[in-house]
């Protein structure tokens, strides 16, 4: 039994989606990560950095293929310059879901938005999301 468990995850194979994003003066930035066809994702956790020199709100959320918001995975207000935010997150906020079992179907989108923080120098940010991928 233990050996069988060692070789099989019920929720697919672990994978990471990560990248960098340039933040611009007084402009919101959003990375859109679409679940590919014939895949189903279980979203485990993630992080994003505020690489700007002003505080920014950072939100992790899910939309359907038409960009209608389905739900929030995490939200952090006024993330200080150079700091990171993670999800799940236990900080109190009405858009902070804490731990959720987020299963995404093909075509649904996981988005991370760095809200505009007002006038700034911009900067380099990065993000990463850990997922389990089921290939259908």
């Amino acid at each position: 039994m233990a050996e069988v468990f060692a070789w099989s995850f019920l929720a697919g194979n672990p994978d990471v989606r990560s990248g960098t994003v340039t933040l611009l003066d007084n402009t919101s930035s959003t990375v859109v990560i679409t679940v590919p066809a014939k895949q189903r994702w279980l979203v485990l956790f993630g992080q994003a950095k505020n690489g700007d020199d002003v505080a920014r709100n950072i939100r992790f959320y899910v939309t359907d293929s038409s960009d209608n918001v389905i739900g929030y995975l995490g939200f952090a207000e006024n993330v200080p310059a150079g700091e990171r935010v993670v999800f799940p997150n236990q900080e109190a906020h009405r858009l902070n879901a804490g731990f959720v079992l987020a299963i995404l179907e093909a075509g649904e989108k996981l988005k991370i938005t760095w809200d505009s923080g007002g006038a700034s120098s911009g900067g380099d940010s990065d993000y990463a999301i850990k997922i389990m991928v089921v290939r259908l």
Partner: protein
């Protein structure tokens, strides 16, 4: 949906820049986002 920098279709991952004050939006593909200078230059042209 096309990338505003290279004008190729974006893939499963893309980036949206949006200025709420003037409504200007820019779409950037996964390849072009790697070139910071291109992103900054294109945004300067689009946003005026």
């Amino acid at each position: 949906m096309k990338c505003d920098i290279c004008e190729k279709n974006v893939g499963n991952v893309y980036y949206i820049y949006f200025n709420r004050e003037n409504g200007v939006e820019m779409i950037v593909c996964e390849e072009c986002i790697k070139n910071k200078d291109k992103v900054v230059d294109k945004w300067a042209k689009i946003s005026g």
